[in-house]
């Protein structure tokens, strides 16, 4: 059973009676433990697809099965719980809480998790350690570089040990060197920790960290290919 499966997925936004179709019938499966990049020019619907796959938004047509179950059958609270336990998000613009320390930012998902508070510190420390920021625990976002901010965001996505990590243009706001560090960590999450990773990018260079690339154009799948020469970055590998 695939972890995620979409059948004829459609998404149309309606604003003041003007319907704008963004996704026009996508079908594919993603298995547990895969590292998939979704590529496409801007306007191709890749962000919308990620939002639907990440249960941040509901599709307007077609079917989406997560863990074998129609997502339409989940209640709002169940979806909130899925986002909390099974999904982790990394955004292009980091979305860290200002004036809040690295440690507290990383703990944020735990607040909604129902996990005992005694365990929070250990879990947060482990996640922060995984992105190599243990020396920045008490820093606030304004004191961090862009690359470091994104690593905090990754630690936050990681802290609940989710099944899938969604990364929406994680390197889009970073210089190439910081971007490489971030991509290296994301790849490590997949290679070493076994997370399913779904990455969105428009850069071929970044896309090739993945095992598989789904290319979108005008709301349909243009191609779905395996990456033959996967990029690996040695920077962080032990």
């Amino acid at each position: 059973m695939p972890l995620m499966e979409v059948k004829n997925l459609e998404m149309t936004y309606t604003d003041e009676d003007v319907a704008t179709p963004v996704l026009r019938g996508l079908s594919f499966k993603i298995n547990r433990g895969e590292f998939v990049t979704v590529m496409g020019p801007s306007g191709s619907g890749k962000s919308t697809l990620l939002h639907i796959l990440g249960l941040l938004e509901r599709q307007s047509g077609g079917e989406y099965f997560f863990g074998g179950k129609q997502t339409g059958e989940y209640s709002e609270d169940e979806i909130a719980k899925l986002r909390n336990k099974k999904l982790g998000f990394v955004f292009q613009s980091f979305n860290l809480l200002p004036r809040t320390t690295v440690l507290e930012n990383v703990k944020l998902p735990l607040l909604y998790s129902g996990i005992k508070e005694e365990l929070w510190n250990a879990m947060a420390h482990k996640a922060i350690d995984a992105v190599g920021l243990s020396h920045r625990l008490d820093f606030e976002p304004s004191q961090l570089s862009g690359g470091e901010k994104q690593r905090v965001a990754i630690a936050r996505a990681l802290v609940n040990n989710p099944e899938v990590i969604f990364a929406d243009e994680p390197t889009g706001n970073l210089d190439s060197k910081s971007g490489e560090v971030v991509m290296d960590i994301i790849q490590k999450l997949h290679n070493e920790m076994g997370h399913t990773v779904i990455l969105i990018t428009h850069e071929t260079y970044t896309a090739e960290y993945a095992e598989r690339i789904i290319r979108l154009r005008d709301g349909v799948v243009e191609s779905d290919t395996k990456v033959l020469n996967r990029r690996t970055n040695k920077l962080f590998q032990k």
């Binding site: 941040l56 709002e76 986002r83 998000f89 998902p109 909604y112 609940n160």
Partner: protein
Amino acid sequence: MPFHHTARIALAGLKTNKTRSALTTLGIIIGVTAIIMVVSLGQGAKDLILSQIEGLGARVIGIIPGRQPKGPTDVLATLTASLKERDFIALQRKENVPHAQDVIPLVFGSETAYYDGQTYRLTIFGGNEAMADIYDAYPEPGRTITIDDVRGGADVVILGKTAADELSQGQSLLGERIKIKGRNFLVIGILPEKGAGSLINFDETAFMPYTTAQRYIFGIKYYNRIIVRADSEENVTATVEDVKATLRELHGITDPDKDDFGIETQADLLKTVGTVLSTLTVFLAMVAAISLVVGGVGIMNIMLVSVTDRTREIGLRKALGATNRNILTQFLLEAIILTGIGGIVGILLGAGLSFAVSLVISNVFGLAWIFTFPVGAAFLGIVISTVVGLIFGLYPARKAAAKSPIEALRYE
């Protein structure tokens, strides 16, 4: 999610916007401070005034001349001269009013006194030998009015402290003669300073025999009051009835509605004045409470701005697993914490200011003003401000909870 986690998130949210939070609370702080001050000062004023009425003594019964007004258009009925000498004599008889210990006819009015080129406008009280005891106004130095002074209509006067000082310009007036209405009066006593805040400002008065005052000062044959003092508190009610019966018989009145006199006891006065003052305090407190509603609107306004400002934060929290209820509770708690803190600060501030005012009043003005902490108003202040937070926080909180995570994350 456990409640204390939500509370912690809400507190953290408020802490990251310290200035805004503080300014938002200000409306509530001012409102609660105003309520506490109004109630505390109102209580202080009430206690002070009531204690002065009590100072007259529970055994004192005042008889007022004239039919008592039954309505606002009935004022003229009071302007009568229905209390005369025969009433005074009748009330003194033991067979009429057995429990009357003292009976004092009173006449009063304002007149100008002259001494050595100085003038002073006095409030003149004409009474008898029992007057000093009832008002606790014993001259020092000097002597009280005697029964012989009253019988003979002696030209003697006892001056209040201020009156004496103003007329004499420093030297002692005891044994001197002052002129009132062209007649010379021997000063037989000076009252020690009583301070303001008595119902009657004794410092600016002159006491003299009522006979003298009637004859030479006011030129009247009636009394402005007759005061009866019962021999014990238990006998006050009986004495009131005896007084009524005596006067009705004397005046030929059969229908109590046609009484041409009124009776005032300390208990009546306490009740009337107490009710008036309490009503006034409640009214002022309600006016102050309106400012709490204004404060609540301020909270709602800022919370709405805050919800818009923090759209991304809300979206993020939802993306990380917060339910609608989590977000609703968080923003509602933020509002309630703001108003709750405002309530507590307002109570402390209001109590502190009331205490300061009570110190000023008692020390500068020399009044027996007692500071009271209004427990009821404080409790009410906390409850109202919290409810204000709940009501005015609900709309912004619902707005926050209703945001879709992706809309919230897209918001720039």
